[in-house]
Symmetry: D2
Subunit: 154 residues, 4 copies
Amino acid sequence: SEQDGLVHGLTAAEVQLLSAKSSEAKAQAYCPYSLFRVGASLLLHPTPTSTSPTIITGANVENASYPVGTCAERVALGTAVHLGHRSGSFKALGVATDMDDFCSPCGMCRQFLREFLELDTPVFMFDKTGRYKVLTMGELLPMSFGPDVLPSRE
Amino acid sequence: SEQDGLVHGLTAAEVQLLSAKSSEAKAQAYCPYSLFRVGASLLLHPTPTSTSPTIITGANVENASYPVGTCAERVALGTAVHLGHRSGSFKALGVATDMDDFCSPCGMCRQFLREFLELDTPVFMFDKTGRYKVLTMGELLPMSFGPDVLPSRE
Amino acid sequence: SEQDGLVHGLTAAEVQLLSAKSSEAKAQAYCPYSLFRVGASLLLHPTPTSTSPTIITGANVENASYPVGTCAERVALGTAVHLGHRSGSFKALGVATDMDDFCSPCGMCRQFLREFLELDTPVFMFDKTGRYKVLTMGELLPMSFGPDVLPSRE
Amino acid sequence: SEQDGLVHGLTAAEVQLLSAKSSEAKAQAYCPYSLFRVGASLLLHPTPTSTSPTIITGANVENASYPVGTCAERVALGTAVHLGHRSGSFKALGVATDMDDFCSPCGMCRQFLREFLELDTPVFMFDKTGRYKVLTMGELLPMSFGPDVLPSRE
Ligand SMILES: [Zn+2]
Ligand SMILES: [Zn+2]
Ligand SMILES: [Zn+2]
Ligand SMILES: [Zn+2]
């Protein structure tokens, strides 16, 4: 899939944008307890009327009661869903930290993402220098439990 | 405190705005499992440069694994914190549902809010007709456990 | 209510037991991230066949992804519910920490407890010396959102 | 690995025990909102003094505020950790539901388990007839974020 110059369907410019936005988002983290800043960014699929890539970002928001805090990925996706985006809207997710190594979304975020991302949607994990590793949603949460398993009431 | 025409420091127009925005936000809820739509809106304190009231909204985002979903109040506040708002930024919270009765934030949201709202910040709970009941943050979570109890590492 | 020598329906011996068991439970905490040990204990109402007070305990279990961890109160009540106890089973909750001051359950735990404790069930918060402060479930989570508000499917 | 008659290190009798205990645990589920019963059981490694297999069980405990509820796997592991079990204690996890198909732990539970299970610890997912599928901890949460990544304070 890199034959066409794309990485999981993204142009080099889109990957660069995802990296920059994830890194910027990180600066807004509220993490006085872990001191572990995380930024996340969701790239939307273009729409008939969109003229430039749309990105929605988030950062982690911790709490004195640790289990009550939330992660960057869930802030970004919560904002996006509230803006009206649903399954089919998301082209890629980016995550950036201050780590030397690539850092993946936690299991809770993988489950939260699973509700809206396609199984082949790529997740770009950027290290602090901007290098990245990519896994798809389906690779991050194999044999997962999504909205198809537990029927909605609607 | 209603002598000056204010309700917990808000003008009638601000309360009306909070009601309208909370109700609008509700329309974006993703709640196929509970069918229980909730909208939330945070009114910011004016800044030296603000010319009109700023409101940040959220709606509930559920998940096939119920414990992984999140509430309207946390989506709104997560978005706000990511935008750079912190303690001292928030003038009031509004919550709207489709219930006949007033519906309060759940305990998890009260704890999440406690990290950033002052103890005297009012929370307006609107029923489906727009009537409301108000409790302050401190009344909703008495003898609470906030950032002052568990020292940060910073 | 202290006229009969009882504190919120508990004898001095029961309060002492709750204190001792909460403190013992604390020793089992897994809290490498916060270093904040918490123990909780639930005193059950006596049954026709019980010959001594039954106590079910819990301690906090943290996680590298902070929001995924859980609190002492939820471990204790999760264990109790799994053992078959439901609304009407619980006479009191005790919580113990290493703090100089009294430490209350977080908002998330208050909501988790609200599903099974009566509004007048006492919650004893012990400081590190064993002194305590008591609030009822209803006082800890006023105007709360319980199983009566959101109807079950059953 | 089935050459020695073992499935991921378990004898047929141990797998049968895990299935029976997971199914029994399911009967204790409190799930009025989803009506989706789940049981989980943890098989401990034998100790020098143990004469029979030790199993610790759990069931899901839901809440009127859906995000506040917890899953069977976390109730079982919370109980186990409170009993003093840590990394190195767990030989296998079993999960049972009423589904026709195999049902895996949600992402949040995978993360909670990751803190204490080895990457090669098997997770047996039983369908309602007792047939099973097995994935290891490492397969369920690839490239995961465990206690080794985020250093503890101790
Ligand atoms: Zn996460
Ligand atoms: Zn809530
Ligand atoms: Zn708690
Ligand atoms: Zn789960």
